[in-house]
Amino acid sequence: MKAKTIVALFVVFAVAAWSPGAWAQGPIKLGVQAPQTGALAKHGQEQVKGIRLAVDEFQKKHNVQVDLKVYDDESDAQKAAASIEKLAGVDKVHAVVGGYGSHLVGPASEAAERYDTPYFTTGAVDRKLSAKKLKNFFRLNHMPGYAAAQSGAIKEALGAKKVGILYNSLSATAEIAQEVKDQLTAKGVEVPVFEKFEKGTTNFKPLLLKVKDAGCDALLVEGYFPDYVGTIKDAKILNLPVKAYVGAWGIGTPEFVRELGPMSEYVYGTSIWEMGTAPKEAKEEEAAMVAAYKEKFKEEPSYIAMLGYLSGKYMLEAILKGGKASGSYSPEKTREALRSLDVMSPMGRIAFDEKGDPKYFTAALFQTQKGAQVVIFPTDRKMGEVVYPAVPWGAK
Amino acid sequence: MKSRTNGEGLRDKVAGANPAPVTIAPMTQPATGATLLEARDLSKHFGGLRAVASISFRVRQGEIVGVIGPNGAGKTTLFALLSGFLPATSGEVLFEDAPILGLRPDTLCHLGMARTFQVVRPFPEMTVFENVKAAAVFGKQGRRSNQEILSDVEEVLRATGLAPLAGQHPPSLSLPQRKRLEVARALATRPKLLLLDEVLAGLNPKEIQEALPFIRSLNEKHRVTILMIEHNLRAIMGVCQRILVLNFGQLIFDGAPSDAVEDARVIEAYLGGQQHA
């Protein structure tokens, strides 16, 4: 009896699963693998919004239909790889964009390589990802670009002598913390406090007191939104005597300013892109994207959305270009097209090296001044003067 | 005055249902065997309550000894102490002249002491056969062939009348059958001493009448010494050669059943102390 029920159920699944892969020539099939649920859901969702915008624009511009398939990897490594199996193996997409978190992108990019499908991510900065030298792997941002902006600004723009680094134990933050520490030490800046905390930490006072007792000029927090909120609130209570507060990424964003109000003022942060930070050549593109984004989603785009947008845009262009060159959309031609890319974008110049890493990527270091992000480093992208010493908890 | 049982008086019921004292006679032969179990000054305190207070007694090989006493007299606690389920506060217990206090229940079982529980506790997920087999496998130390174990199990099942039910699961058995299973399981460990905790409770008079010869046969055929707790006095009178009476944790009587019912302290314990309230 029960056995029959099971068999029946299985048969239903099997039939439901049977979807013969049709091979239509016309439309470009673009796959997206990104976390829509689970720990990284927020970032994945923004990423996908950016990609959707890019698809809309591309369809309008080239009058080529794009079949977009979005699969949720549930912030889980196994599901990430499985999503690629589905996109590349079943839906036979021409390329995949998305991917957030090095631990998800790792298995996913491996899977894409197995299917010889170009994989273009905007959310994984771990060095080891490109060390594998996968031929289908491309990304817009990577670790050294972030670290250089931070250590450079701390040494040159702020002139801090002693820096306390607190970092979230998650992989990306742990990696950048180590990188920045090495660069700072090489530049002769002391790092007396270098400590890892776990996600979910809410009482930062004991950590901040260590920074205080070590007499640091600057506090560098390599973390995520909750960590910034926690450290800034606790630093305010302790009246922490440092001269600058630097965050890694995701700080100073509109959401950050919205949630923290006056206490978002004067923070330093690295960003790939924020409203108004585009180089001159790409100002127009920036404005158009922001306008279209606001129109479509009724909110401001974050840098993650921008990254998603750019990855979608350049990937589609590459597929089309490769396809025009050869008559069909082949992975080889798409790769070639991507490798020959060299453009100015709202996040700066984009070109890839042979490992798929961005050749020219450097993040900018900005300071939030009156709720706006003012780039202060590197000097060639400088938008305004640095306010130093100044900390968010000193703001009125 | 009216009696509910077909107009019979209580005495009629007793006489009709139970073998007369004469038939019990063979059972009351004095046991002459060596001492199998001995408790010396055994005590158990729970906080301020003395559940078992300095009890000493012996059980000889081949005896059937009853333990009676009103509710809360400490009978079950005494059993738990003897069988290693509770640590004693003070005193000593010897089994075949070796001290056994502090040994784990499974070790005691290997030494030859098995017990049943007041509320039957069969293993519900296992068949009757498996219940008994588990006891046969683990009850004695040392490897035995599967053949030997199986023949043991079959013998026990036959002896306890459970053979036709071997494939059933305990929840489908009737209460008397489950009580038998409880005993069968203990028996399958091949004990020298069997501690029976109210095996007759919950059975109706007819079922009790059927159970008594069974207990006697365990003693006779399987040469098992038995120490049994019972609430049902009549039953224990018919089967035991000697009874121990507990009240308020103390041993107030140790002797032949026929003497117990004449003993003033026993009567007081059972019927209440005050003749004039």
């Binding site: 649920t37 689970g38 720990a39 859901a41 927020k42 969702q45 607190l166 134990s169 400590e195 890892k196 905390f197 776990e198 979910g200 930490t201 809410t202 009482n203 006072k205 004991p206 950590l207 007191l209 260590k210 205080k212 007792d213 939104f225 909750p226 909120v229 926690g230 609130k233 606790d234 305010k236 209570i237 302790l238 009246n239 959401e255 949630e259 923290l260 109000g261 006056p262 206490m263 | -």
Partner: protein, 290 residues
Amino acid sequence: MISATSVVQSLLSGMAEGVNYSLYCLGLAFVFGIVRIINLAHGEFLVLGGYIAYWLLVKWGVNPLLALPLAAAMAGVAAFVSYRVFLQRIRTSSELNTLILTFGLGIFLANLYLQLWTADIRNIGVDWMEQPLSFFGIYVSVGEILTILISLAVVFGLYFFLTRSRTGMAIRVTAIDRDAAALAGINVERVDLVAFTIGGLLAGVGGPLLGMLAHISPGAGLHITVKAFILTVLAGVGSIPGLLVAGMILGVGEALTVTFINASYRELFGFALFIAILVIRPSGLFGRRL
């Protein structure tokens, strides 16, 4: 080197954190002690309270402290409905079943919040509550003092409710001896429902505080549930004042681990303590007394 003032400050921060921990776990401990259900959806009830306060603040500028009653009430309603629809039906089955059931409810609620309120991380910030005060070189904020007072008030309020009020006493005696309570005329089934609902209310009070002191997000509940469970075991089932002490031990222990060892061993401290207590003294530090 670490200065003496810093050690004291760290210690105090741990105590403050600990008091709030006890508030976060109060509902779980209460329900476990009375109804014998380990409510794995506890954290989600708490997060619900947090969202209520957040939206009241963002939409109408309601001070989160004033939002406490509504936050508690909504979480209480969620608990009430969960109990009536699901838990009541398996009240007499095994503990494992209630564990799985509440776990399922937790997943459901967390994903429901995700759909309703997006994955954004929310922080409840009120400027005047974030102002620091200084005493002899030791700093605290107005909000911290307030939240500690609220936590203490709720913990002691519950304690007095249980020991002084008629309903509270009924709940308490039902937990001690269910039959005796029924024989005294107490509707013990209703007590279960009421107690579970109160557990939800208590969780709801914790939400706005969590949002003020840290942050809330749809998935934040599980972490709270785990912390709450550690504390419940640490304190010993049924001991409400014991929760405060256990909270402090955990909070202070975590803070001092950071100060003297390393921040990355903070969580390890909690779990090591949890296992040690389970193994050495399964009844917890304060045994079973209501």
